[in-house]
Symmetry: C2
């Protein structure tokens, strides 16, 4: 046995590659949030629904590409999405899952192999980690990351376009930015439509039904400077809220912050 | 003599083509503003300086591409800029010129043939007419156009990068927009760097030294709705103000609103 094997493995360090990161998650060596794992690679929101809901949900995503940018769909019954990773397994590769029956949370688990059914369809949606990386690499400060908090999220008065049982308000995330950074952030995120794209709103929270921008409905509050504007992006919590409202007979989602790591480089999500 | 020749010519109508528009201006049949002439074609700000100032001014434009997007330069002594129009003549093709000596306005004329010198260099800079057309065609209302007013312009606390005698604050133009339109306008104008490009500021006039956004330094005031943000673009008045401050021994500029019509289509100014 080597000296290396005797020390507790620094699994976070080894998880710089997406395949290795998924293997460490699959083995149980990595739990909790996937933030910071496999930097440079796309992480996805996950929603798994029975086939009877799949067409409506896929249509919902098509109608609402900003909150629901679909980057992968599994064949019914298959837990694999080869386009996102050759060995990727939707049953084991997310650190934390939530299992829902009739809209009620029934289990929080690290593996859904025992819940898998041959009529399930997995939907993977792009997430803001990708565009936040692009912003950070451009030198733009992201407040909740600086403060090591969750991004503040708000339910808005902006409706989504309904499809079948899926309907409800858009949820947005907010990042305070100086005006010149806000303009630059609009340019950068416009290049990434598959991970929420350009902001949906800027500067006047009350116009989209947000009563108090210091009191988010989800996530943590962050301070907004006098010299900053709140900038709002469509958020991947939207489909989760919409699914909860639709109360499907069965559903699996990722636990907050525990995303599906893919083999797709963030830069490959840029359309230009 | 034909019946057509007996009626006063509808010169505005005939000026839908840029070559024809320049010919009508050259002949004196069209005077005043060039707004609305040769729609779809780039119009330019004009600055004509003696050769001794040319290198510094060209460097100033290179340092400050947002207020001074250079789209054409003449050979010293030549009044032609073939890249912008084969028959274009800087001496006759602008409806109104201003002639300056030592920083003082000495003449306002419709033809500068008598002032032309063999050491003069003409600089043509992109103007906001091009991006305003792109915004209007996208369905975005531009307030000062709706109200048939001049765009409101403000001297700011944003410095330009100096070059030789050319230095001074950036002048910006302001257009009030609803937040979603502001985001769309940032996307659209980002595609047009040669006609001022993306805004330089949004939402908080006081941060760029504007004391009262209802009282522009140049142009006309326009109302800003409660549901709108003021959006600020670098303005072609910047180089005029900088030249006035530099007090060159001799200079010719276009009169406000009387631009140089080129053969370049506005869409060709889009980088993407």
């Amino acid at each position: 046995m080597s000296a290396l094997a005797e020390a507790p493995p620094d699994t976070r360090h080894h998880a710089s590659d997406p395949v290795e990161a998924r293997h460490l998650i699959r083995s149980g060596a990595v739990t909790g949030t996937t933030a910071g794992l496999a930097p440079g690679y796309v992480q996805g929101n996950l929603a798994i629904l029975p086939r009877e809901y799949a067409a409506d949900f896929q249509r919902f995503c098509a109608f609402n590409p900003k909150p629901c940018p679909l980057i992968g769909v599994s064949e019914p019954g298959s837990p694999h999405v080869p386009a996102l990773g050759q060995d990727l397994d939707l049953r084991t590769d997310v650190p934390g899952y939530r299992v829902w029956r009739d809209g009620e949370l029934v289990a929080e688990v690290a593996d859904v192999t025992d819940y898998w059914r041959d009529d399930l369809v997995g939907f993977v949606l792009g997430c803001s980690y990708s565009f936040e990386e692009a912003l950070t690499e451009d030198g733009i400060e992201i407040r909740h990351i600086t403060l090591n908090r969750k991004v503040p999220m708000f339910e808005t008065s902006i409706p989504t376009a309904p499809a079948g049982p899926f309907r409800g308000p858009m949820v947005v995330s907010m990042r305070p930015l100086k005006p010149a950074d806000a303009i630059r952030a609009i340019q950068i995120t416009s290049r990434f439509p598959a991970v929420h794209g350009a902001p949906v709103h800027i500067g006047k929270p009350e116009l989209i039904g947000i009563k108090d921008v210091r009191k988010p409905d989800f996530g943590d509050p962050v301070p907004i400077g006098e010299d900053e504007l709140p900038v709002f992006w469509a958020c991947g919590v939207t489909p989760q809220a919409v699914i909860a409202r639709a109360r499907p007979s069965f559903c699996i989602t990722h636990a907050p912050g525990s995303m599906l790591i893919t083999d797709i480089r963030n830069t490959r999500m840029a359309i230009l």
